[in-house]
Structure formats: C-alpha cells, structure tokens
C-alpha cells in the first residue's frame, strides 16, 4: 500500500485512524499524513473512534493512551480482536517502561512518547507498512 505514497497512483491508499483527545494533535497529524499520501480519519472522542473501528477496517491506528472513557489500551485490545493485522501505534505524553511493555505485550507495533517529530511518526508508519508488505509477500 505504501506504493501509493506521493506517487499519485490509483492504488488504494493506506487508511489511518488517529485518536487523541487533545484536538491539537489530530489537527496537526491529519494534514501531515494527508500530505504524505494517506487517507486519514481523526477522532478526539474514544467512544466514537471505537464505533468507527467496528464499522471500518483501518490499516493503521494511532492512539493516545490516557483518555477519558475508553482508554488507549482498551482500544488496542479491541482492534487486535477484530482486526489483528491492523498495526497500532501508541502515542502518549505519560510514557513509562510499564505502559510501553504492556502496549507491546498487547500487540502494539510501536510506542511513541510525546512530544515527537512529525518525521518520526511518519517513519513509524512507513516501517509498519514495510512489515505488512513483507508479511504479505
């Protein structure tokens, strides 16, 4: 799927769901990923994001950890239940070795501490795509 990036080809674009209850994170990540050639949906409310996951299959889910209501760990659990091949990237401002370990244990692809560079998160998504591509080959 990464072959669609920036190439303008007609192949299906990588679908990304971003969930962060801080609007500024969604506001900035969305155009950055769109500019890089991805199709992006953003959510600041975890319940709505969860509902969307139930109805649409995403290639990548980028989620904050600490949120009101359904937190990132629960969302990670659910994504892995219904779509094991979906890569989940956890982003958090409260990174601890414990939460990182738990995320990986639950099947997260990567764990990124905030603040992070735009280029860093783009790199993580590209790595995830490369892994999926290698797995599919």
């Amino acid at each position: 799927m990464s072959d669609a990036i920036g190439s303008g080809s007609n192949t299906r674009k990588t679908q990304i769901l971003i969930l962060d209850d801080e609007p500024i994170v969604c506001k900035r990540l969305k155009p950055a990923f769109q500019k890089a050639g991805y199709e992006v949906e953003t959510f600041i409310d975890s319940a709505t994001a969860m509902a969307r996951i139930e109805e649409k299959r995403f290639d990548v889910v980028i989620t904050d950890l600490k949120m009101q209501g359904i937190d990132g760990m629960k969302l990670l659990d659910r994504v892995k239940e219904i779509a094991p091949s979906t890569g989940v990237i956890v982003i958090t401002g409260f990174a601890t070795p414990e939460t990182a370990k738990e995320s990986f244990h639950k099947g997260a692809f990567d764990f990124v501490a905030k603040p992070f560079k735009l280029s860093d998160i783009l790199d993580v998504v590209r790595k995830l795509e490369a892994r999926n591509k290698a797995g599919a080959a």
Partner: protein, 835 residues
Amino acid sequence: MRLPFFNFKPKRSNSPRELESVRSLFLKFQRIQKLNTKMLELMAEMERALGGEYIFDRAFLESSVRDLSGLTYQVVYSLNAMSHNAYVDLYDRFQSIKGTLEDILHGGLGPFAASLALPFSSLGWEMEPLAGVLGVCLSAARDQLDILAPDGFVITVTGCRGFFEANGLDEKLKACGPSEVERLFREAAIPTELYEAVDRELKALLSRRGDSIRLTVRACAAGGYGAAQPEIAGLANVEPKGVHAACKSALAEYAAKAAAGEIVEGTLAVVAVHETIAAHVAGVAEVQARPGFPMGLFDIAAAPVGDPEKAEHFLLRRAYPFDLVESEVLPKAVDKPLYPGVKPLSRGPSCLYRGSALLGPRFLHAIAQCSVAFERALGYPQDLYWVRGDSDRPVIVDVRPAKLLVEESPEEAGADEGSSSFEILASGGETVQTGVSAGRVVHATDDNIENFPYGAVAVSHLAAPRFSPVLRRASALVTEVGTAVGHLATIARELRIPAIFGVKGALEKLPEGVEVTVDAGERKVLKGIAEPLLASQPHDAELHVGDPEYITLRRLLRWIMPLQLVNADASDFSLENCRTYHDIIHFAHERSVEELLHIQDAGRGLASLYARKLELDAPIELYVLDLGGGARTAGDGAIPLEDVTSEPFLPFARGLTLKSAWSEGPVAISIKDIFSSIDRTFGTTPGQNEFAGRSHAIIAKNYMNVGLRLGYHFTVVDSYLGSNLNQNYIYFRFVGGFADERRRRRRVEFIRSILEEMHFKVTLTGDLAVAKLKIVEKEEMVEMLTRLGELTGFTRQLDVSMTSEEAIERFTKLFRERSASRGAHSDGKERSRGL
C-alpha cells in the same frame, strides 16, 4: 568578594570533617551544574516545540513546567546550601515565577493581567488575549518585522472590563435600545485608576512622538488571531485631550455592534490608541482567489485619502517576486500632482516617466512583502490596511485574517505532486523553524547585516547570533553550521522564519541571485519558486499562532527562557531582578562559582593535611588537593604531572612548565634569586604559618581552583571544563606585587592586554585584575588554560621590570612572540560566548 590568601590568620585544621565540607561544597556546585544542564535541555525542548517540528499536547506543557519548577527549586536549594542561606529571597522569586506559570497553564492572563493599559512596545504575540490582535500586530510590525507601523498603546481587556463593570454597562445595555447606546457610554465615568493609566500611557506616547500628533482610537475584539474582526470604524485625528472621550465613543460603537450580533457573544473588547499617520494615499491589500493561481492573488486597492471613489486596483502574484498580473488605473490630468511632489510626468530613477498610477512597482512590492511577513508570522494569509505617508515604504495600520481564500484540502492542492518537479539544490541539516518561503538567495555576511534585502533568502556559513538583524528582513534562513539550540535559532522561531541549520555546502549549492523555495519542515531547498508548495501552507501541519497550545507555550516561555541577567558584574545582577527561570539558574550558577572561589579559604588548612606535592618541572612548589577524579594515583607521595586527570588543571599545569614562561625571563635576575626572595618575603612576614609560601590547587575531574603565590603577587585561577560549552569558564584574578604602585599598575595593564587578546573580559581596580572567559569550546579552553599557565610564570616579579609605560607594549610583544613560537596563537577563530 573575598580573596583567597588575603586572610593571613593561620587556619589549621585537623578535622577530616573539614575535608568533607570542602568536598560537599564542590558536590553542591556540581549539582547546580548538572541541574543547569538538565534545565537548559528541557527549555530547549520546549523552545523547539515552538518551531513547529514537534507534535505536542497540553500534557507536555504541564509536565515541562512541573519538571522545570522542580529543577529550579533544587538549584535554589543547592545555592543556599553552598552559601549558608545567603540567598533565601531567591525562593520568593522562584515561587513568584512558578505561580505565574501555573496561572498561565490554568488559562489565566499572567502577571500582566492586572495591567489596565500597556504600550505597544511591551506587547508580544502571546499577549493577544489581553491586548487584542491589532495592538499585538502593530507592535510586532515595529519591533520584530522591520515594518513601519504607528506607535501607540492599548487599553487591555482588564481595563475595558473595569470600565464596563464600574458603570454596570452590561446590565444597562440589555435594557436600552440601540439609539441610547452612545449616550449611555458618553455619560459613563471612567474609573480613576483607568483614567490615570490611560493618561500615563498617553503622556509617554506624546513624549516619544511629540505633542502635535493626532491620534486614532479603535475598539476591537480580543477574540483570537483567527477570529473574524468586525469592521469597527475608529476615530481618527483625535486631539490628545480628547482621547478619553474617544475611547468611550469607540467602546460605544463596539457595544452597539455586539448588541446587533456582529460580534461573537462574550468576546471581550480592547481599545487601541495610536498615532494617526498623515497620509496621501491609503488602501488595503487583500488576498483574492483566482483560477489558475494556486496561491490566489494580492488585490491591492489604493485611493487618495478622502476620495475612496477614485480607488485603483493592482493584482499581484502572491509569490516572490510578486509579478504584477493586472492593474486598473484611472485617467488623470498629467499636470496635476498625484500627491505632493509627484506628478505623472515626474521622472523616476531610470529617467523614465513615472506614469499616472497612484502606486509604483516598488511600493506595490513593499506592500506584498509586508503581507507575506505577516502571513508567515501569523500562519495564514492576512489582509493589510496601509497608508502612504512621507516615507517611500507603506505604513501598516491594521491586519485582519483574509476572508476570500478557497478552502481546499491538501490532497486537492496536490502540494507534493506540484513540488516534486522542482530540482533540489540542497537538503539535510536540522529544521529550526518549519514553514515554506521563497526568494532570491543573498549570502549573509558581516557587511550586509544591517541592510540585508527585504524578502531575500539568507544563506550563511555560521548560525552566529550577530545575524539576528538579518532575520527581521529575510524570508528564510539556511546555514552550513549550527544547531537548533542557540540564540539565532531562538530568534528564527520567535519571528517564525523558516530555517534550516547545518546544510553542508549551502553557500556553494545556493549561489547569490538564484531564486529558491525553502521547505524547512522537509529540510529541502528547491530551485525556483515552487508556488504549489507555497500554496499548501495554510493547510500544513504547522503549529499556528492562533492555536491555544501555541499561545500557552509562548506565554510560558516568556517566563522561562529570556535571560535578562547577562552581566554578572552589572549592578542590576541581583536576585530581585530574576524574572525568569533562566535568570534564576544563571544567577545561581554565577553565585555558586563565587562561593567556590572561596574554597581555598577552607582548603589552606586542609592542604597541609591532605595535599600532595605536584611533580612539576618548574620553579614552583604546588600542592594538590584532589576532590575526586583529578589525579590517577592515590596515596601520600608526590603526584607526577602525567597522573593528573583534571581536565582544566592539566593544561594549566603544562603551561606553567613551558620553558617560554620560565627559561627566558624578562627580569634581569635569576630564577634562583626570584625564588629565594619568595621564601624570604613570606618567611619574614609576621603571622605567616609554615605553609604560607606554598601554592595550592584544589582539583576534580572537571574543576580546578588554583591559588598561586609568586613573590608578593597572588594569582587565583578558577575553572570548570566539561563537555557542555555553556558551563565552561575561567576566572582569573591577579593582585599584589613587590614594586611600587606605578610598576604594579603597569604589570596589570600588561596582563589586561594579553588577556583581552585571549578574549577575556577584564576589569582592573588598582593593581587587581579580574578576568573572565565563558561559554568556550573544550579545545579553546585547553589552549586558554595553557596560555594562562604560561602567563602566570611569565609575570612573576614582572612589576620590577616595568620601569616605563613603554614596557607594557614591549612585554606584551615578547609574550605574544613566545606564545606564537609554540604555535599557541588562536586569533581569528570564530567564537561564541556570552560575556
């Protein structure tokens, strides 16, 4: 300040606890150094977040403030522990700044919240919620963007609220009809405190601009940078004595519009009062969507003042070089002046007739450049209201978010596809401030710092602080050397100038005159003007000036980053003047160094018990007290020089052993004679203890404090040398001598001339020379310490030889030649230090 060795009372100690107390003092000093480093790293991270490269959230702001506050507290605690609580009041300063930061995090307006009126010069971008967009923009134009704008002041949200509340205007407005609003405000009384605040700012403005000026008074909404501002006709040409009444009238108009629903409910008002610019032509530069032009066009309307019917229009491209696409010029009589001194048949600089258009190409370009500068600073296109006065540059009188841009998603804009056809001239380095800008390349040099062409892309070798003025005019900055942490990087972020530092070979790859587009976020410089890329900016993932997190971060940094206490020798270098966390840690650093200078007071007694003689190939008896990591060998015996591991002490001791210092002494007496006289002089001094003739060095891995007595003069060299250049320093003190006062003075003059050549900051008081060198790279520190060692040997009893004023120059030359002969000269090196 006490001087080591001036206390001649015998100070013997047999208690190992005293050794521990010296160690403890040094450990606290080291702790301050480490805390300082950690804080600077955290502060740099916060500042870099401002540059747009990082994604961060509120939690980051909260945790950063929490961490910084914790570290600052520890710095204050450690300094007090070092100094027997000599700086207890620093806790109050810390608490005050911490309170301010917490208030900002909780949405408060900060310490200026109580201000009723503030001059434009005191406003920053982060003060918009208190002062409104207009005042902040006019202030930025004058102080940051090198754009002409009127001087003035604002009546803040607090001032205006006070006026409304004192008169119960909110309630009365609900009860009265639109026709009664003006009367209601006219009859309302301005609270005394507000009246006096306005009076104070008005007087200050008149004293700056002259009593004869007329004023413009405008009420505006403090509604955020992106919010649409209602068209509020201000009152122009108001006499100074009528300002108070004009403020009420402007607020009445604002209230009427609010009542009519033209202003978002609950939006607070501010009043801007500024000089009315005498103008011949006025107009607005708007952004207009136009098919075929991805960025849209500038529509610059211009009309003679007082005759808006005769407006002319000029359509310019929005990308450099702002080509004129279309114009609509009205016919005029050739013999009538367009405005004083200018007729259609006036000849221009190229001897061509000027033409009948109200504005010429240069003036149009100047307006376009102002518009681009505001767009860059605010993050999205702006409509500029300008006037043409006597100057040949536009004066900006209002700035409003552009309304007419067609919203388009980045996918539709196809920015990437559009820019991929442009050749990449240079890439790499480190993003300092994200953003895209285009322009003609001009190499920034010492010769064009002050007259750098407006709107050009600056390319330089170094990210040197002296290039700061260039950033007020450049549209982007690319340097070959430099990192995202540093003074110039701070300025680039403050002005939101797209900047990439560390692009190898940039000067060669980007020759002067070439038109380029700098995409700082992508760390690329493209050949040509990449309009699709420039057009994509409003949709970019950038952090915008109006984003609440940006405003909060900027407001927090205002109380964290600026370093106002720069000069430790200045009279205002006091704890009362610590206004930011940076001030506190710098103050604590300087004072901790001072505390450490006294380490020899305690060390003298200890040296007799714990110091070990240094094996030095020089006629000097030097005893070393190692606090840890300063020497390889342990035990009671003498320490060979090669076993010294103290980073600052090793080069200094090596300098002491240089034959250039000792073997060809300028004094016409032998070394033996000198040192026999040293023993004699100290041995015969009443009250001297048996160790008085010795010199001591207290050392650690990265530290040394050396007290040298040579003859009747005393030298103290205190230095820290580590991997962080910001913490490196050398303090050098020299006092005393055998000869008469004149000769001693000549010797310190000689020392000054040498140390100034070495870029020390030197102050002389009688025969006391105090010199400081700070923020120095490790390599240079080593060289400087070596030369200091050499100088220390060279100057022994030099005062005796200082028989005339001419001797100062002679010995300076001699020392310089000897240093040069061992290849020690490092003149002409690029240095960056903050003395």
